[in-house]
């Protein structure tokens, strides 16, 4: 499969007073055409900044470096402002975490939807209007023609996020990045919207980078999964491989926190990984997870490389495959009783 997005050794540094916060610490991944990559990890591990760095939308204080950052044949590292503007919203679009505030309060939904298409493509207003209505219906908004004339404040959060999804689709992008698109929404509609996104991804054959906490949805829609911790990738592989055999202790921790339909009783207290994320200010030597890892041992404080099993399953841990698989047997057996 051809790679549509390639990221190598991406770093994002933010000056904090005299020090530097290393928010993204050398992550690498790629996305094939039409593939869904889900990115998971606790808050603050650098997921948003990674997506913003690719879009070229980092806050002005943040500094981005990378060995390689290619999108659809364009080198984003050396791309001019104009070139980036041609790509953004057109071939590469983004959906944000905050549906309530991501639409401009002063303009109608229709205006904002049509704008992106009229800006990038040489189409008539009528054509843009037609596509906007078509996409609003696609994302499950009823009375689309009437909604076009409404203002954001007249819509609920869920509807606004559907509008944002429709907006990201206006120009028929090759890749969509969605940064926790449902975190701010009512739980009852979260999965529904994520699944909608996945459906649209398949229908329009787009690449999708989905940042989410919803591991249940990840298990259902992801082709590949990337687990981030403290600005690094700690595990990456096909969804099947990662869910069946999570090779990094952090990934297992995340999975233990996940409710299992039919097994976890309602009201059952879910586990959470004890301990806190290390500060990202200054350098972190060795494994960043070691303060919270029950397998931590001598050597972890200097272990710093990605292992892989020869089948594109990567993990960043001192434990080799054999030892890990030993723990894995216990993990699978003890899921329900996991501590």
């Amino acid at each position: 499969m051809s790679k549509i997005l390639e990221v190598e050794n991406l770093r994002v540094d933010i000056p904090v007073g005299k020090q530097t916060l290393h928010a993204v610490r050398g992550i690498s991944f790629s996305l094939s055409k039409g593939e869904t990559l889900c990115v998971v990890g606790e808050s603050g591990c650098g997921k948003s900044l990674t997506s913003l760095a690719i879009m070229g939308l980092l806050p002005s204080a943040a500094k981005r470096t990378a060995d390689k950052l290619h999108f659809d044949g364009v080198d984003l590292l050396s791309a001019s402002n104009r070139k980036m503007q041609k790509i953004r919203g057109n071939r590469l679009s983004m959906i944000f975490q905050e549906p309530m505030t991501s639409l401009n309060p002063a303009y109608t939904i229709g205006d904002q939807l049509m704008e992106v298409m009229l800006w990038h493509q040489n189409v008539t207003k009528a054509k843009a209007h037609e596509r906007a209505v078509y996409l609003l219906e696609k994302v499950g908004i009823t009375g689309a023609a009437k909604r076009m004339k409404q203002y954001p404040h007249q819509l609920s959060g869920g509807l606004r996020q559907r509008v944002m999804i429709a907006m990201s689709l206006m120009c028929g992008p090759t890749v969509i990045m969605a940064d926790e698109p449902t975190t701010a929404l009512d739980v009852t509609i979260q999965a529904q919207i994520l699944l909608l996104l996945s459906e649209l991804q398949r229908e329009f054959e787009m690449g999708l980078v989905l940042i989410t906490h919803d591991l249940g949805v990840v298990a259902r829609i992801a082709d590949r999964v990337m687990v981030m911790y403290a600005g690094e990738v700690v595990e990456q592989g096909t969804a099947k491989a990662v869910f069946e055999a999570p090779l990094h202790p952090y990934t297992r921790g995340l999975l233990e926190c996940m409710p299992i339909p039919g097994k976890t009783k309602p009201g059952h207290h879910l586990g959470s990984i004890p301990g806190i994320v290390p500060s990202l200010i200054g350098e972190i030597a060795g494994c960043a997870f070691r303060d919270r890892c029950r397998h931590a041992r001598e050597g972890c404080e200097s272990f710093d490389r990605l292992r892989h099993d020869g089948k594109n399953h990567y993990w960043r841990c001192i434990m080799d495959e054999q030892e890990t698989r030993g723990h894995l047997a216990k993990f699978t057996a003890g899921t329900e009783a996991a501590t």
């Binding site: 919203g89 057109n90 944000f96 991501s102 639409l103 401009n104 907006m167």
Partner: protein, 304 residues
């Protein structure tokens, strides 16, 4: 909307009424017009006769009600100084004041909006500081002083523009700059603050994520939202220009309402002063109403 508007109009009427009552009372107690008119040599009998003739012998409340009754019919009485009705007198002067205020407003907006936007776009840089210094200078100088400097430099030394009078449009340029520049700082600062706030919002990030150019993001998505509070302040500043042009009109000899007010105050021409006060109050109230309507038009959340 109709209910809201009629409520606002009723309130506006009450405010005008109060203003007229207060000015009437203040003017009555500020000095004896009659002895001023009669001159120092007049005998008490002559003064009393003149007082009766001018209808000023009744109690001030009685006179106020009489004045109010006439004013409501558009009759503000006669000037004590000119052989003209107050209404005619003001109507002749009003166009000059409106022209001056309109041009000052244009000067103010063409300074404060670009400066405020530039400053917001590059906050805490030399651009920001320069914009702020330009604005602060406008406020630090009394406007008559700045007006005199303009007059000396551009009219007397360079001879580019006429120094005083209101015969042609050229006459209005220097006073409009003086008045407009003075009103710039608060509007510029509010534009800057509004713009900085708006530029940090999520919808601006969305606009950039759509691949729009910086110009389009700024002018279509940011300005429209940042300008909402500026509209109200601009209305107030315009009111200040209308009501506060007394000094500038006097300095530049512009035959406007402000100049008339100043002349009438020095001559104790009470009916004229009274009418101008009411006029200024009405202008303020109208402007606030207009700014509310503009706000509603700009901000769909207020619109119903």
């Amino acid at each position: 909307m109709i209910g809201y508007l009629s409520q606002r109009l009723a309130l506006a009427f009450l405010v005008c009424l109060t203003v007229s009552l207060i000015t009437f009372f203040l003017l009555t107690s500020s000095g004896d017009v009659v002895s001023a008119i009669a001159g120092e040599e007049a005998t008490p009998e002559q003064i009393a006769a003149l007082r009766r003739e001018l209808g000023l012998d009744a109690h001030w409340t009685v006179r106020y009600l009489e004045w109010l009754g006439n004013a409501l019919r558009g009759d503000f009485g006669n000037s004590l100084f000119f052989r003209e009705t107050v209404a005619d007198l003001i109507m002749h002067r009003l166009p000059n004041t409106l022209q001056l205020a309109g041009m000052s407003l244009a000067v103010m907006l063409s300074l404060s909006l670009p400066l405020g936007m530039l400053a917001a776009f590059r906050p805490n840089t030399w651009v920001d500081r320069l914009a702020l210094s330009i604005a602060v200078m406008g406020q630090a100088m009394p406007n008559f002083w700045f007006g005199l400097i303009l007059m000396v430099v551009f009219a007397l030394n360079l001879g580019w523009l006429p120094p005083s009078g209101s015969g042609t449009n050229w006459h209005f340029i220097l006073p409009a700059i003086a008045l407009g520049y003075y009103a710039t700082p608060p509007v510029m600062r509010l534009t800057r603050a509004g713009m900085i706030e708006v530029l940090g919002t999520d919808y601006i990030r969305t606009a950039r994520a759509k691949g729009l150019s910086t110009t389009r993001v700024l002018f279509k998505h940011a300005l429209r939202n940042a300008i909402i509070p500026v509209v109200a302040l601009t209305a107030v500043q315009f009111g200040n220009m209308l009501g506060g042009s007394v000094v500038i009109e006097t300095v530049f000899g512009i035959q406007g309402v402000g100049y008339l007010a100043w002349e009438s105050i020095t001559r104790l021409d009470v009916p004229v002063v009274q009418a101008i006060m009411i006029l200024v109050a009405i202008a303020y109230i109208t402007l606030v109403l207009v700014s509310d309507v503009l706000n509603a038009w700009l901000d769909p959340k207020i619109r119903k």
